[in-house]
């Protein structure tokens, strides 16, 4: 099907014949389906798309894609994806990691990929637990989490993925959760559009080892009050009938009811995802859904120099400036040589 010279793809073009082997009810099924649809909407051909994962339940995802893909080793997906993208910037590269793969064993590669701003789309499927090894706490598990490896509760604080991303000077951060299909698709598409490292945290439910960990905001009856969908240029409104809004108070944020306590719609902040200064974006990303609503959508989307393009640009520039025809020519022109007859 040709459309304006580019082929239009459907979700099924990105899906292969393998049956997904995640547990019934696992949030990964929904995320996979949305990814197929998002890829079709983005429109990059399956043969120009590579999906790279590490190890863990969610890292099985490339096996269910009809794209190029690599299911690699634990924690290293970001480094491998960096290699794929730097070698061939024409490919669209996705990285699929869980919270353990991406932020524990792969924490170093994660922060450096983000710092470099290599143009990959990192989906962190965060269920706050190790599923494939059957239920140990992860680096995103809340303090006090009881698991097989923490029978008396954890005595350590978790990473907040957004905070880590901002700390590594990230330029794109978005958040969704497995049941919010439209938002997930929206942020995936935004991540693909963004040039540079895009980090998308998708909070996901593990029905076996951590069931209901996200219920306090993700359950239908809680969503309106406990989440807020941020859109660039729009007022930060949430709650039933968008009756509530976020306002600035001192250096912090405050949730108010519009029309109460003297707050009007004019007091409600407008989201600026494109601001270079990430101070407010970071505050939004740190809202946890308890006192302040959990922020969903694209929280930061700032354009900065892109690593793989810079590598290619510099290489081309130096190459054309020097103009050597090859190795021998370079040696003859830059090294001391002598003839022996």
């Amino acid at each position: 099907m040709e459309n304006n010279g580019t082929k239009a793809y459907t979700a099924s073009d990105y899906k292969n014949s393998q049956n997904a082997r995640w547990c019934p009810g696992c949030g990964d099924h929904a995320i996979l389906n949305v990814l197929h649809k998002a890829m079709a909407a983005i429109g990059v051909a399956p043969h120009d798309t590579a999906v790279i994962s590490g190890i863990g339940c969610s890292s099985r995802l490339p096996y269910y894609m009809n794209t190029y893909g690599m299911h690699t080793i634990h924690g290293r997906a970001a480094a491998i994806a960096t290699g794929v993208k730097t070698a061939n910037p024409a490919l669209t590269v996705w990285q699929i990691s869980g919270d353990g793969d991406g932020l524990a064993i792969g924490g170093n590669h994660f922060i450096h990929a983000v710092r470099r701003n290599v143009d990959i789309n990192i989906l962190i499927l965060n269920n706050k637990i190790y599923g494939l090894t059957k239920g140990q706490y992860s680096p995103t598990s809340d303090r006090g989490t009881v698991s097989k490896s923490s029978p008396y509760g954890t005595v350590e604080d978790p990473f907040i993925p957004a905070e880590l991303c901002f700390g590594a000077r990230g330029n794109f951060f978005a958040r969704s959760f497995d049941m919010a299909l439209d938002t997930t698709r929206e942020v995936m598409e935004a991540a693909a559009r963004h040039a540079g490292t895009s980090v998308v945290e998708i909070l996901q439910n593990c029905v076996i080892f951590n069931d209901g960990i996200h219920s306090y905001f993700a359950d239908k009856e809680n969503r309106a009050e406990h989440t807020i969908l941020l859109r660039h240029g729009e007022k930060m409104l949430f709650g039933k009938d968008n009756s509530r809004g976020l306002v600035q108070e001192g250096f912090g944020l405050k949730a108010v009811t519009v029309g109460e306590d003297g707050y009007t719609l004019d007091d409600v902040l407008v989201h600026d995802a494109h601001a270079r200064d990430n101070f407010l974006q970071q505050q939004l990303a740190m809202m946890d859904g308890h006192e302040l609503p959990l922020a969903l959508g694209v929280i930061r989307d700032y354009d900065a120099p892109v690593y793989d393009r810079e590598v290619a640009r510099q290489t081309e520039e130096v190459k054309s400036k020097k103009g050597y025809s090859g190795l021998r020519d370079m040696i003859m022109k830059t090294h001391e040589t002598w003839e022996i007859g």
């Binding site: 399956p46 190029y68 893909g69 080793i73 290699g83 730097t86 070698a87 450096h112 040696i331």
Partner: protein, 616 residues
């Protein structure tokens, strides 16, 4: 004019330059070896430097040395030096043990101040008798005084004047070996093309050194070195690490696959990263990653994306890369891993040489994980073997580990720049259209080589997934079936074994009636060859072969070695290659000569070792 009786004609000569790290000894040594190479000498150099970047001036720990051998039949930088240039008392003290009994010392007598003697921990104020040297063989040159006199009116400051002291020493050395000053001046002109004042100063100082030797020490014999006949061509001087980088670049040119290096700084391998980073001017993508693991992983990603992908490291880094290399074994992707071996275990002796990573290269991964292991035998051979590593990786779809070592990586030799037709085209095992259309599966294999095909992202209709999980032999989907796993294990092993079909067979030297064979591998070649030559010259018949292909071994290895009564393996470890060879030659006793001192063999150690083992 020198008296003819004062000229000594010899085949080769060894000069060792020693001083503080900042004394410019490497530059002086390098220029001396290059001007010798230009007139057709064979050359071999060996830098011996401390792990500290700048140890305190004048201290024993801060001395760095640069040894140069030039002449005919030069395969090593020499066991011992004919001439030692010592720029201060510490350099004299730490380097005297590398000087021949009848060798000559050139030293800066001005540097032998009470303070410097104290720093170098001398007990008396007479270093010559304290060290038991023959005063007649010491050329005490007042270098600092000469420098000041020569450059008094140059307008240069004190610091700049002192920096040219190495040229004064080089001037004396040039006089000693009848090297014309003009050949050095040409080098200096290039080096200081943009700094004419510095060039003038160095040129003056160089002449002052030559004149000083000529005028005051004409009683010391001058050496005339025999010149070797080399293969015609254009030559340059190259270190092993630079040669490694260049070999990879040629492989990229000959295969049409762009070159990608993912690396992390580590001594003594970092110069490969440096050279390839410069070679962006040839289109190389060299990236410095956040750690060793990311180095290999980015290379694996680049390999999947269709590049000639390389990671460079040394022993500790190879340990970190193990899991990644295992992934490349399982995904059957081409990958070149360069391991510039150094003293271990752990951080060990980072700047010193050893051959102790052989077992790690062969076996240091989980599971049945065969891959190709190669070694380079000399600085210039690094070029050839890096090319070979890349060829084998891309034609056989396998990771290849190339073992070099600190000694050949930092050492240099004159190298004939290959002519366009000297190296063959490389044929990467890329998925052909007809195979794709015939219902290709990612782990379908070529019948002859057992290699799977390289399907490069961007290729339409060849989308596929690879990874660390075992795949079904036929369908290429994930499989945990036991029988299938065993078949895949065998297939991966057989694929590596069949590399032997395309590598040279072993053809020992000095094979005429010898019942003993001396074997080595990798960077010990020069010393073992020289030892074997000396042994045969003295009437002791010993055949010799240096292995470059380690896994797989040359096809005829077992057949050839079975012919000898005595097999002696000499290596810089406690017997790793000997053990490996033993597994191929059960029932055959393998004798050993081993050394693990962080230093290359001395030729005499090998000669004595062989004689001892033959007598036993």
């Amino acid at each position: 004019m020198l008296q003819e009786t004062n000229v000594k004609t010899i085949d080769k000569v060894v000069v060792r330059f020693a001083g503080d790290s900042g004394d410019g000894m490497q530059l002086a040594g390098n220029i001396f070896s290059n001007i010798s190479a230009e007139i057709g000498d064979e050359i071999s150099t060996f830098p011996d430097y401390p792990a500290e970047i700048r140890a305190p001036q004048g201290s024993l720990s801060g001395v760095s040395g640069y040894q140069v051998s030039v002449g005919k039949g030069v395969h090593t930088p020499g066991d011992e030096a004919d001439v030692l240039v010592a720029m201060n008392p510490a350099a004299l003290k730490t380097n005297l043990r590398y000087l021949k009994k009848d060798g000559v010392v050139i030293c800066d007598v001005d540097s032998f101040t009470p303070a410097n003697l104290r720093k170098a921990e001398y007990a008396t104020d007479d270093p010559v008798s304290e060290l038991g040297m023959d005063p007649a063989r010491v050329l005490s040159v007042p270098m600092t005084t000469l420098l000041k006199n020569t450059l008094d009116d140059s307008g240069l400051d004190q610091k700049a004047i002192m920096k040219s002291k190495n040229m004064l020493a080089l001037g004396v050395v040039c006089w000693l070996f009848e090297r014309p000053v003009e050949s050095v001046l040409r080098k200096l002109q290039n080096k200081f093309a943009r700094k004419p004042a510095v060039y003038e100063a160095n040129a003056k100082v160089l002449r002052a050194g030559w004149d000083y030797g000529h005028n005051t020490h004409s009683s010391v014999p001058v050496w005339r070195i025999e010149t070797a006949a080399s293969r015609p061509g254009t030559y340059t001087d190259v270190t092993g690490n630079t040669a490694t980088a260049w070999g990879l670049i040629l492989a990229s040119e000959k295969s049409g696959r762009p070159l990608f290096l993912g690396s992390y700084p580590i001594t003594p391998a970092t110069d490969i990263l440096h050279e390839l980073a410069k070679r962006k001017d040839l289109g190389v993508k060299a990236v410095q990653m956040e750690d060793e693991i990311a180095g290999v992983c980015s290379a694996i990603g680049a390999s999947y994306a269709g590049h000639l992908a390389v990671t460079s490291t040394s022993g500790p880094g190879l340990a970190l890369k193990s899991e990644g290399i295992g992934l490349a074994v399982m995904a059957e992707l081409p990958l070149v891993v360069i391991d510039v071996q150094r003293g271990g275990p752990s951080t060990g002796l980072p700047t010193k040489t050893e051959q102790t990573d052989l077992m790690q290269a062969l076996y240091g991964r989980n599971g049945e994980s065969p891959l190709c292991v190669l070694s380079a035998v000399s600085p210039t051979d690094c070029f050839h073997m890096a090319f070979e590593a890349a060829r084998i990786a891309m034609e056989h779809m396998t990771p290849v580990i190339l073992l070099t070592d600190a000694y050949i990586a930092n050492g240099s030799s004159a190298w004939r720049i290959p002519e366009p037709g000297d190296y063959p085209e490389i044929h990467p095992h890329i998925l052909p259209q007809n195979v794709l259309e015939a219902g290709w599966k990612p782990f379908d294999r070529d019948e002859a080589s057992m290699a799977r095909y390289w399907a490069i992202p961007g290729t339409e209709r060849a989308m596929h997934r690879v990874g660390g999980l075992e795949k079904d032999y036929h369908t290429s989907v994930i499989s945990t079936d036991g029988a299938n796993h065993e078949r895949m294990v065998a297939a991966r092993r057989e694929k590596v074994a069949r590399i032997a079909d395309g590598i040279p067979e072993m053809t020992p030297m000095f094979d005429d009636g010898a019942d003993t064979i001396l074997l080595g591998w990798g960077g010990t070649y020069g010393h073992l060859l020289t030892a074997a030559t000396e042994l045969n010259a003295s009437g002791c018949k010993v055949a010799f072969w240096q292995f470059r292909y380690i896994n797989p071994l040359p096809r005829n290895t077992v057949e050839v070695l079975s012919r000898y009564r005595r097999i002696i393996v000499a290596e810089l470890n406690t017997g790793m290659f000997a053990d490996y060879l033993q597994s191929h030659l059960p029932g055959k006793e393998i004798l050993r000569i081993n050394k693990v001192e962080g230093q290359p063999f001395l030729v005499k150690e090998v000669v004595e070792g062989v004689n001892r083992l033959i007598e036993e």
